[in-house]
């Protein structure tokens, strides 16, 4: 219980997170497990309210799980009593987060130089302000903000959304993290600038070996960024399918994944108009306060089997190499052991 | 919800007491009312202990006074004081406190020190209506006018007169109400002599019979005119400014743009779409300010010698009439607490979003 699998750099095991008290108590994340290998990209995909951001915050250590464990480099982050583990500081700096809203993620009171030099000086990564400046300039170049003199002493409100996100990435890089959790990091950035930001982040993976947990609602972005990695699809607090990106994109197994992929419009008129649709039985997203019995997707699922899906909650089961699905029917068809 | 109701009906006896306590305490209405009661209790106790424990204990002061004025021996003076304060001074403080609370619950606020034989309650009943009348009228006028002007300002932001009106509003809202009262008195009443300030003193002219007669109504309005004008002037500024900013905010809402796109008439948009939503935050403010203006009436009623509760309080203060002071303060507190309570309930009535969330 206290040792993670050596395979993963960061691992979530049976994470559960509840919010609220008494009658309003909801389970935002319900038994989520996954691991990310060194240098890998894992993408969490799902609609708003599915618990992907909460999962991301637990991975970053900003939220304590109600139950379950997070392992970093094989060591448990929280002690069994829920205190910070012995290597918490290494973990804390090792996992950094990039937020969605470029307008809220930088302190409006500080200049870019101040924002970037503070962590460097605080953790003594540099000896003095001269070294700090050198490093800040280096970081700005890494994230593609050049010429640096145009940015160093600007305040965040003087930059565009895309530029701010780059500063956020640079700020995360100040402490040389091994894992970056990017929570919808590009969804508020304009289309023409989005790809530049994604490419820059991909370069970090290549050049610095950064490992990513990439959280998004946009399947196209997920596919683009995590093509060599894996995608986990979340629905109402749980992972329903977890597979390598090409597999998941081209051959989804879970009915929800199928529905999502079929529903996404494509930036290609012929392609998007000829796509096959999946007809759902209901449009209503279940409320966390009144979850359906059995499989949470069953009231909407086109493959619903009465007596099975509404009774028994499917587990996330392996259905082939590196591939998991939480669906009675899909698992049966794939011949998974039940 | 219905399933819960049914299950409680089916097996009522099995519910533990804790369940019912939880169910009652989680009820919005119950919670609000109990908080109000708690506040009143808290303030009453606070005053009780302050009066008893302060170095210049008013009872001691009164005993001294009796001894000096009437050269009574200490014991006699003490007995007399005790009877007036309706308190057994030999009893421990906790017993005194308990007695005091019991008396209060029976509506007994004690007797006035300075006019022995008159109960505090009688005095309050005689003076409070005038304050409620003048404060209520003042607030009603200033709220209505303020909301109207505030909305007009929000609509006519480009007009040349807008900064003048907004500026005046901001000046009015930042000057203390008694300063406004004095300025009115000095200029209108004395320097220019436009109004017969001496005749306007009091809450009504002596010799006029109360009743629904034209003479009486005219008279009470005549006497209330100056306090009311002061209340209006001292509160209208903040109504104007709040309504202006609230309206500007509402005008920027999507639903107003959509209402325009739907071709609704400007009149309908102004009232039902902009006005109603912009007024929501002001309604709570209005009810809360009723209580506070009652408190603030002390100074205004003094300036215009208007015989309301505030005037009575200030004379009780200067004559150190402790029981009366305590009683009036209690009444003022209750009026604030009550208007807060009403504000909470009424707001839900105006705003359906709260109605759903707040109701059980």
């Amino acid at each position: 219980m206290n040792a993670g699998s050596g395979e993963y750099l960061i691992e979530a095991r049976n994470l559960v997170r509840m919010f609220g008290a008494r009658r309003e108590r909801v389970t935002a994340v319900d038994d989520v497990s996954f691991g990310i290998r060194q240098g890998e990209v894992v993408c969490l995909v799902g609609e708003s309210g599915c618990g992907k951001t909460t999962t991301g915050k637990m991975i970053t250590g900003l939220l304590k799980p109600t139950s379950g464990q997070v392992f970093y480099a094989g060591k448990s982050v929280w002690t069994p009593r829920g205190d910070k583990g012995e290597d918490f500081k290494t973990y804390r700096l090792g996992v950094q987060i990039i937020h969605q809203d470029p307008y809220a993620s930088l302190n409006p009171s500080h200049t870019i130089y101040k924002i970037l030099s503070t962590p460097l000086l605080h953790h003594k990564f540099v000896a003095n302000t001269y070294e700090a400046l050198d490093r800040v300039i280096e970081l700005l170049n890494i994230v593609g903000l050049s010429p640096v003199e145009d940015f160093l002493y600007k305040y965040p409100h003087q930059l565009s959304g895309g530029q701010r996100q780059r500063v956020s990435v640079a700020r995360a890089l100040t402490v040389n993290p091994r894992v970056i959790v990017a929570d919808e990091a590009v969804s508020m950035v304009d289309v023409s600038i989005r790809v530049g930001l994604l490419n820059m982040m991909a370069d970090l993976k290549r050049n610095l070996g950064v490992t990513y947990l990439f959280i998004t609602h946009d399947l196209a972005v997920a596919k683009f960024f995590a093509w060599e990695g894996r995608i986990a699809v979340m629905y109402v607090g749980s992972i329903v399918e977890f597979a390598s990106t090409p597999q998941l994109i081209n051959d989804p197994l879970h009915p929800y994944s199928k529905a999502l992929l079929a529903a996404v419009p494509e930036a290609d008129p012929e392609l998007t108009r000829s796509k096959k649709r999946v007809e759902l039985r209901s449009q209503d997203i279940p409320s966390l306060l009144a979850l359906p019995s059995g499989c949470r997707f069953h009231p909407r699922c086109p493959y619903f089997e009465p007596g099975l899906c509404d009774v028994k909650r499917p587990e996330l089961l392996p259905v082939g190499e590196n591939r998991y699905v939480a669906c009675h029917i899909a698992a049966r068809e794939a011949g998974a052991p039940t | 919800m219905s399933s819960i109701a049914m299950s409680t009906q089916a097996v009522p006896q099995r519910k533990p007491l804790r369940y019912w306590i939880k169910r009652i305490t989680s009820n919005y209405v119950v919670r609000m009312i109990s908080r109000a009661i708690f506040t009143i209790w808290f303030v009453t106790s606070l005053i009780f202990f302050l009066v008893r424990l302060m170095p210049s204990n008013p009872i001691e002061v009164y005993i001294n006074e009796l001894m000096v004025q009437y050269s009574l021996p200490y014991a006699e003076a003490r007995d007399q004081a005790a009877s007036l304060f309706a308190i057994d001074l030999d009893a421990p403080l906790s017993k005194q406190y308990l007695d005091y609370m019991v008396q209060l619950l029976h509506g007994n606020l004690g007797e006035s020190l300075r006019s022995p034989g008159t109960s505090v309650w009688e005095i309050i009943v005689a003076f409070l209506p005038w304050t409620l009348f003048s404060v209520g009228l003042g607030l009603l006028i200033s709220f209505t006018l303020g909301v109207f002007i505030g909305m007009l300002l929000a609509y006519k932001r480009q007009a040349l007169w807008e900064p003048v009106v907004s500026g005046t509003a901001s000046v009015l809202s930042s000057i203390p109400n008694y300063i406004i009262g004095i300025v009115l008195l000095v200029f209108l009443g004395v320097y220019w002599g436009i109004i017969p300030i001496h005749q306007m003193r009091g809450s009504r002219s002596p010799g006029i019979q109360p009743g629904f007669t034209w003479v009486f109504i005219k008279d009470i309005f005549f006497h209330a005119a100056m306090p009311v004008l002061t209340y209006v002037l001292s509160t209208i500024g903040s109504w104007i400014l709040s309504m202006k900013s609230s309206t500007i905010g509402t005008l920027g809402e999507d639903y107003v743009a959509v209402a325009r796109a739907r071709g609704l008439s400007e009149g309908r948009i102004t009232t039902a779409y902009v006005g109603r939503n912009a007024m929501l935050p002001l309604i709570t403010q209005l009810l809360i300010s009723i209580g506070f203006v009652v408190g603030g009436s002390i100074l205004i009623e003094n300036i215009f010698v208007y015989q309301g509760i505030g005037y009575r309080l200030s004379s009780a203060l200067t004559t150190r009439d402790y029981p009366l002071m305590q009683g009036i303060f209690l009444i003022i507190t209750i009026s604030v607490v009550l208007s807060n309570l009403v504000a909470d309930f009424i707001y839900g009535w105006f705003d359906p979003r709260v109605r759903i969330a707040g109701g059980d």
């Binding site: 970053t60 700096l93 950094q96 987060i97 937020h99 969605q100 993620s105 930088l106 302190n107 409006p108 009171s109 500080h110 130089y113 503070t118 953790h123 302000t129 001269y130 400046l133 003199e149 305040y155 409100h157 003087q158 956020s168 100040t174 402490v175 | 506040t39 303030v43 005053i47 302050l50 302060m54 210049s56 008013p58 500026g167 901001s170 930042s174 000057i175 203390p176 008694y178 300063i179 300025v183 008195l185 000095v186 004395v190 300030i197 506070f292 408190g295 002390i298 100074l299 309080l313 203060l317 200067t318 002071m325 305590q326 009036i328 303060f329 003022i332 507190t333 604030v336 607490v337 807060n340």
Partner: protein, 301 residues
């Protein structure tokens, strides 16, 4: 370009120069809002009048029977009062108490409000629930009547006592707004980022949260001042506080001696009234500029 050239510009090396530059910047920012700047200038005028001004205008204690209600002359620019004393002198000397008390109350109440409000929001849990409930109750207590009642029980002749009492009575409103503000700042992403960067509690409070609350604190401070002036002058006017040499006392005197009902006494009564009104107004106006100064979004490099 060398790194050297990109170092933050400290420029002037000696502190007087830096202070001067700071004042210059402050004035420049202050003057951006015209109303606010006007308020600031009036405020400074009052401060100078009650400090430096007292050195130039002698305090008159002697009554002059020949000069009762004398209209303004060069010698007595604001005329004379009911005892023939110079009004200007009373205004100049009568403001210091009010000013000091207002500043003191502003500082103490802001301190209480900011510390309790931030602690409440940062610690949360039962502590926060308790304080919030207490504040809710406290807010419904009518402050001025309570103060008036208290004034009959305690001798409020000491300015510090009065300031303390006023602050204690007004903590709840400030507490509530500061708490809400800290709560909203606490939820912001950059605080989370600072937590993830392990910059420490102190850094987060003083470097990330506080700078964004300055405009709020400044407003709270001015609010504390205005309500202190309101209460103090009100108490003095009712004759409940045995203070001397005070604008409120002037009004009270004019009132109790019936001077208010003489046409001739217009200078006597209007001088302190105008002073109080103008001083209040200057603080309220000044708060607008302060709000802008401390708003980082309006800052440029």
């Amino acid at each position: 370009m060398t790194t050297q050239a990109l170092m933050p510009k400290t420029g002037i090396r000696y502190w007087p120069g830096r202070v001067l530059r700071g004042i210059g910047r402050f004035l420049k920012l202050m003057s951006r809002n015209k109303t606010g700047f006007a308020g600031f200038l009036i405020f400074i005028f009052f401060v100078l009048m009650t400090t430096v001004g007292t050195l130039f205008v002698p305090e008159v204690t002697k009554a002059d029977i020949n000069a009762i209600y004398a209209p303004p002359t060069w010698e007595h620019p604001l005329g004379n009062d009911s005892q023939g004393k110079d009004i200007l002198s009373q205004i100049v000397h009568g403001g210091r108490d009010i000013l000091q008390m207002a500043l003191l109350t502003g500082i103490i109440s802001t301190f209480i409000g900011v510390s309790l409000g931030s602690l409440s929001a940062l610690i949360g849990g039962g502590f926060d629930a308790f304080l919030s409930m207490l504040a809710d109750i406290w807010l419904t207590i009518p402050r001025f009547p309570l103060l008036a009642v208290l004034a009959t029980l305690v001798k409020l002749d000491n300015m510090i006592y009065l300031a303390l009492l006023l602050s204690v009575l007004s903590w709840a409103g400030l507490y509530r707004s500061i708490r809400a503000q800290v709560f909203s700042i606490k939820e912001r992403d950059y605080i989370e980022a600072a937590t993830a960067l392990d910059l420490g509690m102190w850094h987060i409070i003083f470097s990330e949260v506080l700078p964004n609350m300055l405009s709020y604190i400044a407003i709270s401070f001015t609010f504390g001042m205005t309500s202190a002036i309101y209460a103090q002058v009100g108490l003095v006017f009712l004759g409940l506080v045995p203070l001397t040499r005070n604008w409120g006392v002037m009004i009270n005197l004019a009132w109790t001696q019936g001077a208010i009902f003489f046409k001739d006494s217009i200078y006597f009564i209007m001088a302190p009234v105008t002073a109080i009104a103008l001083f209040q107004l200057s603080i309220v106006w000044m708060s607008r500029s302060l709000e802008e100064i401390f708003n980082p979004r309006l800052r440029t490099g």
